[in-house]
């Protein structure tokens, strides 16, 4: 085997992944919270008032990063679902299933903050236009994946069935993204672009990008934490899981630090 494949197998083995992920999780959560706090300060205090929307536009600093994360998490879930279905890698099943609730959380935040933004700007909490409806479909897809995963007794069979659903649902991702261009909607068009100039001033842009980075790091922190628990549950009968369970006795701080 070439060294890369060997490395991949080593990282992908549950006990190794459990140990390495455990070292990363607190740091990732810490960095995400610190960056998020900086971004909140930038968005709420430093960024100037919008000439059209007044202070209401400041919802953008939580709404847009969460909307991006909803799509990013779906892409990540679908990629791992594909790997899980084709190569039957256990870790990919776990990663795909762990990203579903995080993606659902971000999509839920997007819908609620969007509604709270829509009321003062459009005069309505909700409208069945393309962007809003496809975003709601995204939430239902996440809930469908989570529901299907928990409806089947055998964990690995459940993961494969839910992965299949996740793969089918990927068609909705470009629909969400391009809905503001393809249909006439109440939702405003894209303000920030990866290619070409953004239609936003610099002191509004940096808090938005900082929050985007913070939510990405949060996603991976939560993903690793959830995957660790998923692996423990799946491999409960194996020696390494037994060792973790016996080392991690509540009240035994030394053991917990090692685990």
């Amino acid at each position: 085997m070439n060294p890369f494949v060997l490395w991949f197998h080593k990282i992908g083995s549950p006990p190794t992944f459990y140990r390495i992920a455990g070292a990363f999780v607190p740091w990732l959560f810490g960095i995400a919270i610190a960056l998020g706090a900086v971004a909140l300060y930038g968005g709420l205090v430093v960024a100037p008032r919008d000439y059209q929307q007044g202070d209401a536009y400041r919802i953008i600093f939580v709404h847009v990063p969460c909307a991006w994360m909803g799509l990013f998490a779906y892409g990540f879930m679908a990629l791992n679902a594909f790997i899980a279905l084709v190569w039957r890698i256990k870790l990919s099943e776990i990663l795909a299933m762990a990203s579903a609730p995080i993606g659902a959380a971000f999509t839920f935040i997007t819908l609620v903050t969007g509604s709270l933004w829509g009321k003062p700007m459009w005069g309505t909490w909700w409208t069945w236009d393309a962007r809003l409806t496809s975003e709601l479909v995204l939430l239902f897809l996440y809930l469908g994946v989570i529901g299907l995963y928990h409806a089947i007794e055998d964990r690995r069979q459940a993961a494969r069935a839910a992965s299949f659903l996740a793969l089918i649902g990927i068609v909705n991702v470009p629909i969400v993204h391009f809905s503001v261009n393809w249909w006439n909607t109440l939702h405003q068009a894209q303000t920030v672009r990866l290619l070409g100039p953004s239609k936003i001033s610099g002191d509004m842009l940096w808090p938005l990008l900082t929050m985007t980075l913070a939510t990405h790091i949060w996603f991976f922190a939560s993903l690793l934490a959830r995957s660790r628990v998923g692996l423990l549950e799946l491999e409960g009968g194996k020696d390494w899981a037994r060792e973790v369970a016996l080392a991690d006795v509540p009240g035994n701080k030394m053991a917990r630090a090692r685990g």
């Binding site: 609620v112 903050t113 933004w117 939560s222 934490a225 549950e233």
Partner: protein, 67 residues
Amino acid sequence: MFPETKWRAHVADFFAMGGYGAYLWPSYAVFVVVLAIDALATSLRRRRVLTELRGKLKRREAREMTP
């Protein structure tokens, strides 16, 4: 104006958010609370899984001890 009242007016102004405070603060609250639940749910589940695992091990040990 005393500096303290000035400061208080400044804070009140910040929380009013130009009249949009009623929409703005709930959005930020939802963002923080939902993500906090995301992290908390995982740590609770981790604790539950470990407790179950220890219980299973203890039961197996008890079974092996009895002839």
